[in-house]
Amino acid sequence: MDAYIQQIIVMTGINLIAVLGLSILTGFTGLFSFGHAGFMAIGSYIAAICTARLPQILQTQFGLHLEPMAAFALAVVAGALAAGVVSWLIGMLTLKLKGDYFCIATMGFGEAVRIILNNIPYVGGARGWESLPKLTSIWLVLGLDVLFVVITWNLINSRQGRNMVAVREEELAAQMSGIDVYRHKMTALIVSAIFAGVAGALMANYIQFIRPTMFNMARSTDLTIMVIFGGLGSISGTILGTILLTWLPEVFRNFAQWRLVVYGLAVIVIMVGRPQGLVGGMELTPSGIRKAMTARNARKRFKEVGDDAGGQK
C-alpha cells in the first residue's frame, strides 16, 4: 500500500478512537470539553516513557529484558489508565458544578497539562521528544477501531448509555427518573479520557515524535469539531465525521490556511441550522434507518389527522 495513503488511514484510525470518546462525552452526555487533548497528551507521554525509557531502565537497573511489543502493550494500557485516573480527579472536582464551569475547568486542565510538560526536561520540555520507537501498525489501529466502535455501541445501547442521553436531554428530569447524574457524567468523562489516552499512546508510537504544542486547545477543538460534523448523538456520524475531516485537509492541501476558517463557519452553520450534523441523531444501520423512517412516518400520519384531541384510546 502507498505509504502516504497508509499514513492517512492510520491517523484517521487513531483520531477515531479519541473522537468516539468525545462523542460519548459531548454527543451523548452533553458535556463539552476544551481539554481533551490534555488526556491525549497524558496517554502519549506515559506511552513514550514506557516504550522509550522503561526498557533501558529495566535493562540497566535490574538486568531485565522487556520486548518492545510487550513494552508497547504496557504503554497503551498505562496511558489509558493514567488518563482515566486524571479524568476521575478532574471530574470529582468539577462535575457537580454547572455545565459552564465544567467547560472552563477542562480548558484550565488542558492548558495546565501543556505548561507542565513544557517544563519537564525529562520528556523533552517545550522542544519535544524525538525518535520514539515506531510500534503502532495499521492493522493494530484498525483492529482497535473495531473494538472501540463495538464498545461505544454497546455502551450507548445499554441502560447506562440511555441514562447518559437522558442527562444530556434534561438533567432535572433525569434526576427525577432515578438517574444519578453525577455518576453518569463521571462514567462518560472517564471513558472518553481512556479513549483519548489510548489514541495518544498509539500516536506517540506512530509519528515517533511528540511535543506539548501538539496537544493545545486547537487540537481539542479539532476533535470536538469532528463529533459536531458527524452529528451529536450518532456513532455512525462520528465515524463519518472523523473520516471526512481527516481526509479533506489532505485532499485540499493548497487551501490549508482556509481549513479552519471553513471549519469555524461550518460549526456555526451546523449549530444554527442543522444541529443534528451530517447524519443527525440516527444511526446508519438497517435498524437505525428503519427507526428514523418510522418516526418520520408516525409524525406525518398524526399530522394529517389534525390531532390535538388528547389522544384518548
Binding site: N154, S158, V165, E169, L172, M176, S177, K313
Partner: protein
C-alpha cells in the same frame, strides 16, 4: 390503608434569600389516597414538590416518606425510593421517541452492570428484553402505543403530559406527584385526565399528590385537599370542608373563578 401516611411534611420551610416561599407547612398524604395541593400563583406549591423530591434543600422542617426522613437524600435516591413526579413546564427527553422516554426511565428494573452491557452477557439480554416488554405494557395502558415512535417534542401537548406521567410510572413509584397535569387542557381533556388519575391509582396501587388550578379536577378526584397561601397553610380537609371555608373562598376560589 395502613396507619403511617405515605408522606408527611413537618414544619417544612424554604427561604430564598429574604423570601419565604414555604413557611412552616405540615400535612400528610395517606397511603393509597389522592390528595390535592392548591393555592394561588406563587403560593409555594411547586416549591413543596421540589423540596419533597430533593431538588431544593429544605431550610427547616422534615419530609418523611413512610416514616423515614428523606430530605437529606439526593434527588435520584428519592426517586429510586418510590417518589416520582411530573413538571409544571413539561420536561421530557425531547429528542427521544415516546418509547425511549419510558424505556430510559425503566432503568431501575434492570440490574446488569456496565461490563455485562459492554460484553452483551446473557443477563444483559434477558433484562433488556424485560425492559422493552415493560415499556410496551406501560405505553399500552396509557394509550400511547400508536405514538411510541414519535419524538416527544412532536407529540401534541396533551400527550406530552400523558407521556410524562408514563415516564414517572416507569419507576414503579409508590407516590406520584403531579404538578398541574391539566394545565392548558380543555374541559374534555381534563375530564379524561381525571378518570386516568383514578385508574392509575387503582392499577398501580400508589398514592397521588396533585397540584391543580382546575377546581373541577381537584374537587372531582381528591379525597383530601391542602390549601396554601403565601407559603403558609390556609386550610386542610375534605373537598367539602375546603370549599366551604370562607378564607379559602376569599383567598383563592373567589379570585380564580372571577
Amino acid at each position: 390503608m395502613s396507619d403511617t401516611p405515605i408522606l408527611e411534611l413537618k414544619g417544612l420551610t424554604k427561604r430564598f434569600g429574604g423570601l419565604t416561599a414555604v413557611g412552616d407547612v405540615s400535612f400528610k398524604v395517606s397511603e393509597g389516597g389522592i390528595s390535592g395541593l392548591i393555592g394561588p400563583n406563587g403560593a409555594g406549591k411547586t416549591t413543596i414538590f421540589n423540596l419533597i423530591t430533593g431538588v431544593y434543600k429544605v431550610t427547616a422542617g422534615e419530609v418523611l416518606y413512610r416514616g423515614n426522613p428523606i430530605h437529606n437524600r439526593e434527588p435520584y435516591q428519592i426517586a429510586d425510593a418510590g417518589v416520582t413526579r411530573t413538571f409544571q413546564n413539561i420536561r421530557l427527553f425531547k429528542n427521544l421517541s415516546a418509547f425511549d422516554n419510558v424505556y430510559t426511565a425503566c432503568h431501575t428494573s434492570a440490574q446488569y452492570g456496565i461490563v455485562e452491557a459492554l460484553c452483551r452477557l446473557p443477563r444483559f439480554r434477558r433484562e433488556e428484553r424485560a425492559l422493552k416488554e415493560k415499556t410496551r405494557g406501560l405505553l399500552e395502558i396509557m394509550g400511547l402505543s400508536d405514538r411510541a415512535d414519535v419524538m416527544a417534542n412532536n407529540l401534541p401537548y396533551g400527550l406530552q403530559r400523558r407521556l410524562e406521567i408514563t415516564r414517572a410510572l416507569a419507576l414503579d413509584p409508590k407516590l406520584l406527584l403531579l404538578d398541574e397535569p391539566a394545565a392548558g387542557m380543555n374541559p374534555d381533556e381534563t375530564l379524561n385526565l381525571m378518570k386516568l388519575i383514578g385508574e392509575i391509582r387503582d392499577r398501580f396501587k400508589l398514592s397521588v399528590l396533585v397540584i391543580e388550578h382546575h377546581m373541577d379536577l381537584i374537587m372531582g378526584v381528591c379525597e383530601h385537599i391542602h390549601v396554601l397561601n403565601f407559603g403558609c397553610t390556609l386550610a386542610d380537609g375534605s373537598p367539602e370542608q375546603v370549599a366551604g371555608d370562607p378564607r379559602v373562598v376569599d383567598a383563592y376560589l373567589g379570585v380564580e373563578e372571577e
